[in-house]
């Protein structure tokens, strides 16, 4: 193989989609914070689940529109290992958040967040923003704007099915 050929092959390997993807997949920053009901929420406790960290605000109309869908997803896919965590984006008042969450019967923990907390996950200037963490605790996607049904089917459902598939494989091996 000629030198330009070797260089070209090396560049192809370095910048292949698989490698680029592997570089993007990273561990999320860990946190341990109290939710609006005073319960401690540790991200590390949800290892093995598919976690959606949803940054939102009561003053953000798209976030309010999205929340009933997130509640439904938590209800329908919680048993498959889906765990949603809501983190508010400032400025927010705890009482207002509590009232809002109560009015919708939110079925997942809500934490009062800070600018820094959101920045530690993503620099994207969009709300709502959803960080997708796979069962191995790695960020597999960042979804900006309202989570669309197609995005859930394409990017999150496979992560939930993965475990089901593994369970079935384990059963058949025994």
């Amino acid at each position: 193989m000629t030198l330009p050929g070797i260089v070209f092959a090396a560049l192809m390997i370095i910048f292949s989609p698989a490698n680029v993807l592997r570089q993007d997949v990273k561990a999320p920053p860990q946190f341990e914070l109290k939710d609006i009901n005073g319960r401690i929420v540790r991200l590390s406790n949800y290892r093995g689940k598919v976690v959606l960290i949803n940054f939102w605000a009561t003053w953000c109309p798209p976030c309010r529109v999205e929340m009933p869908d997130l509640i439904r997803l938590q209800r329908e896919h919680g048993k498959e290992g889906l765990q949603i965590i809501g983190i508010t984006y400032p400025p927010e008042r705890k009482l207002r958040v509590q009232r809002f969450a109560r009015s919708l019967n939110v079925n997942y923990p809500i934490i009062l967040g800070t600018h820094q907390l959101k920045a530690s996950f993503s620099s994207e200037e969009v709300l709502p923003l959803t960080i997708v963490i796979d069962r191995d605790g790695k960020v597999s996607d960042i979804i900006s704007g309202i989570l669309l049904r197609e995005e859930f089917d394409e990017k999150i459902k496979p992560l939930l099915i993965q475990k089901e598939g593994e369970k079935q494989n384990a059963k058949s091996n025994h």
Binding site: W59, C60, P61, P62, C63, R64, V65, Y89, E125, V126, L127, P128, S144, G145, I146, L148, E150
Partner: protein, 99 residues
């Protein structure tokens, strides 16, 4: 042989031109006023919802002007549908006078 090639080239150009003219004829651009879009962070959700809609070719949402400029295929969509999409993001597409 030469005339065959010439014919082929002429036909291809004609087909391409017709295609471009047809596509251009179906593309419309509309500016829709959006009420309550004060937060820059939230306007991204409107852009995303519009761009995810079949028939929308481009959408530029400006929260400062409070408007969305949308380029769309009028064979697949109409302004009412675009307003519905905007309303679905929690904002209010302002109806034009007479609507």
């Amino acid at each position: 042989m030469r005339s065959r090639i010439t014919n082929l080239v002429v036909s291809s150009v004609l087909v391409l031109t017709l295609g471009v003219i047809t596509a251009a004829a179906f593309t419309k651009t509309v500016t829709i006023k959006v009420d309550g879009m004060k937060c820059a962070k939230c306007s991204g959700a409107v852009t995303k919802a519009l761009k995810a809609t079949e028939g929308v070719e481009d959408a530029q949402v400006n929260h400062e002007k409070g408007e969305a400029v949308i380029k769309y295929d009028d064979q697949k969509l109409n302004e009412d549908k675009l307003r519905e999409v905007i309303n679905g993001t929690g904002f209010k597409a302002v109806a034009e006078k007479g609507q």
